[in-house]
Assembly symmetry: C2
Homo-oligomer: 276 residues x 2
């Protein structure tokens, strides 16, 4: 999907909501556990109930891989199912390896004839630098979502270290250097909502890039704060919510309840987009 197509999607749906598909067998409704593939069935119902108010869906690979081959089958079926709708799809896999190996990883997410999966974007960890990221950028209309400032407590361990020469903190170095690897047409950055005020510093370096913002809801971030510091004329934000939406309830009506939660967020987003 191109940047313009993504912007159109946001305008049409009046939403910049990304829903994290992180199905945990210990949390999904018990009436699904007897089905052939409970994880896929859970995802399918969530997707059907929310696709018109979410612009993006983001399966986190950890929640599939932990179930081994069966988990990869659920994941492959989910990505196939998402093709039914006009949505942006993000493989939240946080990969990254030496160039030769990142090329193989890129095929996993972007080459459906080999892997059976076809995402629009993949999250990538920056620690190993340029050659670990660039192979993902060689696919037309595909995106890298590079970790910059994450939403967890451990973000403070390394991401805020300030280089003695440039005075830039590590996340700012990542934002600065990586701009030479791709453009705002094929790169986004993860910036956690739990550090919304930091978006001012982020926007100084990447005024136009889309940001994928996790941490709204369960992790404590505020949507208004994120929009205040991060919104651009093209929106420039995809705000993710996972647990708050997909585990809104665990009864028979879990999908309807997930939609209700997603609608609340979408309506707040509609207000933000219209400048209210």
């Amino acid at each position: 999907m191109t940047r313009n197509e993504l912007i159109d999607l946001i305008k049409n749906k009046k939403s910049f909501l990304c829903i994290g598909l992180d199905p945990d067998l210990s949390k999904i409704p018990s009436h699904l556990l007897g089905t052939d593939d409970p994880v896929f069935e859970f995802n399918r119902q969530i997707i059907d109930a929310t696709h018109d108010i979410a612009v993006a869906f983001k399966p986190n690979f950890a929640f599939y891989e932990c179930n081994g081959i069966k988990g990869w089958q659920s994941l492959a079926k989910t990505t196939q199912y998402l093709k039914k709708y006009n949505v942006f799809t993000i493989a939240d896999a946080k990969r990254g390896d030496i160039g030769n190996t990142s090329t193989q990883y890129a095929k996993t997410f972007f080459n459906p004839s080999q892997s059976g999966m076809d995402f629009d974007a993949v999250t990538v960890a920056p620690y190993m630098g340029e050659d670990s990221v660039k192979p993902f950028l060689e696919f037309r209309n595909k995106w890298v979502v590079l970790l910059a400032l994450t939403s967890n407590k451990g973000a403070f361990d390394f991401q805020f270290l300030a280089d003695k020469n440039s005075q830039r903190r590590l996340f700012e170095e990542v934002l600065t250097k990586s701009q030479h690897w791709g453009s705002s047409e094929n790169m986004m950055y993860v910036v956690g909502a739990t550090k919304a005020e930091m978006l001012t510093d982020v926007r100084k370096i990447v005024p136009d890039h889309f940001l994928l913002v996790p941490g709204v809801g369960a992790q404590g971030g505020s949507l208004r704060e994120v929009a205040k510091y991060g919104l651009t004329k093209d929106c420039g934000l995809l705000v993710n919510s996972s647990r708050n939406i997909i585990y809104a309830s665990n009864g028979v009506y879990f999908a309807e309840n997930a939609r209700s939660e997603a609608e609340k967020i979408q309506q707040e987003m509609e207000g933000i987009l219209s400048g209210v």
Copy 2:
């Protein structure tokens, strides 16, 4: 596997060789392509031919994931097959996510009843800090191999940035802080052989930890240099070679040729371990 068991394995085999199982369908011998699972068949023959002179095997997940579900089947079969031999197994997956999610990833590698896979160790990327690493350390006799100084060109992008307060470079910060997360009984570090002289600086911070050293051979690193700067009284090194061994030839005798290459390295290691 415990640290003492690993040290015994090194002493008994007179080797600290780790073989990287990175099977690429475009490179493996053509006579295997007609078999039911060429990737597994390739691995099986390499493992059978080298298990007595290698202490560790390290499948890199990228080379399996790119083949989708079929690739995960090859990987699961490979990990099962490795159980046949007394070897240390490393999932080279370079994972890492917020705590809640890293817990799921840890189950992938360390909980065979759920995932079907049971490795001794997994490589983890440090960018997201403590809570992204610790869930992997909660499994008894299982190891984290944390990226510190990688063997690729991109290592220079961020890993050498020096913090203005501590004056430590990022890889030194990773080595320093992470020692509070685990011990030399459950943590190792990746330090690339292409930067062997840096091992002196690494050993100042982690004198006892095992180091997993990639980059010998195809990437240009020297075994003698690595041993000169990195060897400890317990050996303290696992030196990985992938392409040089597994692609020694691509004819019918590829496994024998792989063994010959592995033997050359093992014999050099035997000399190093005996102080020659």
